[in-house]
């Protein structure tokens, strides 16, 4: 007897439509559970996300605004010093390098600014002296 051929003369016992329906209802309940779970999670996330995202945007905007103000204040005088950097007085530069063996752009700008202040102050004194005769 060929056992494989013999076994092929059998088939799985039929599953009744009621059984199929009952199992599908079980599955359906599980799917609905997952969907409800997802919706409640999305709700929670949305509320949580909404609150935090609004707070974050406000915070970021205020920080950005603050930085923008500071940056514009700093950049205004710096812009004029740039000309000096582009065309620096060689002696002045060497003097600066003597004082600052490892210069940075910022320190150089500060140096120039101090110089500028001093120059303005000298002009101011000279003007006062002129007025006083």
């Amino acid at each position: 007897m060929n056992i494989e051929e013999y076994l092929r003369r059998f088939q799985f016992e039929k599953i009744s439509p009621e059984t199929r329906r009952r199992i599908w209802q079980k599955i359906e309940r599980k799917i609905e559970g997952i969907e409800k779970e997802k919706i409640s999670l999305i709700d929670k996330l949305w509320n949580w996300k909404y609150a935090t995202s609004v707070a974050t945007v406000v915070l970021l905007l205020s920080i950005f605004n603050l930085h923008l103000q500071r940056y514009s204040q700093k950049m205004m005088p710096v812009a004029s010093y740039k000309e000096e950097i582009l065309d620096p007085d060689t002696e002045e530069l060497f003097a600066f390098l003597d004082e600052n063996p490892k210069p940075s752009l910022l320190s150089y700008l500060n140096y120039i600014r101090e110089k500028e202040k001093a120059k303005n102050f000298e002009d101011y004194i000279l003007k006062i002296e002129e007025l006083l005769g």
């Binding site: 056992i3 076994l7 092929r8 059998f10 088939q11 799985f12 016992e13 199929r20 599980k30 799917i31």
Partner: protein, 159 residues
């Protein structure tokens, strides 16, 4: 989502239930495991819809689900002696009721790993290559399990 899952259930639900019946030998357990399996299918649907061979993938999932179920039952010490479930029936009326019972009894005496190769090969129509992917064993192992099962069934049915 529900419609896609329903399609999978309509196409493979019954085949998967038969396979689980073979593995678990208990209709209620097999139905519960099948429902849990579909719960997992819903959860991992993206991965499942990308599977090259959906049928093999589902059978591999069913096997894992049944294995986890058996493990949980052992942990809970709930693995009682179960009534042998009738799994197969004759296609035509030339085979008697006694013969049918004999075949079912012979099948129930097989070790699970041999029983599942027999069901996957003979009644689910998988190739040995597909069976080896489902069971995560080599082709040789599949073939030898099948051979042993056939020999045992032959002996049982001769009696």
């Amino acid at each position: 989502m529900k419609n896609e899952i329903r399609k999978i259930y309509e196409n493979y639900g019954e085949l998967l239930l038969h396979y689980l019946l073979f593995l678990l030998s208990n209709r209620a357990d097999a139905e519960d495991v099948l429902a849990n399996l579909f719960f997992k299918i819903v959860r991992h649907q993206k991965r499942i819809f990308r599977a090259r061979n959906l049928k093999s993938y589902l059978f591999a999932m069913a096997r894992n689900e049944a294995r986890d179920f058996i493990k949980a039952q052992i942990k809970k010490q709930k693995l009682e002696e179960k009534m042998a479930t009738s799994l197969i029936e004759p296609k035509d009326k030339t085979i008697s009721f006694e013969e049918k019972e004999k075949v079912n009894l012979a099948l129930s005496k097989l070790p699970v790993e041999q029983k599942e190769v027999i069901t996957l090969k003979i009644w689910q129509g998988f190739t040995f290559k597909e069976i080896s992917q489902i069971l995560k064993v080599s082709l040789d192992t599949c073939a030898s399990r099948y051979r042993y099962a056939i020999e045992k069934l032959k002996e049982e049915l001769k009696r």
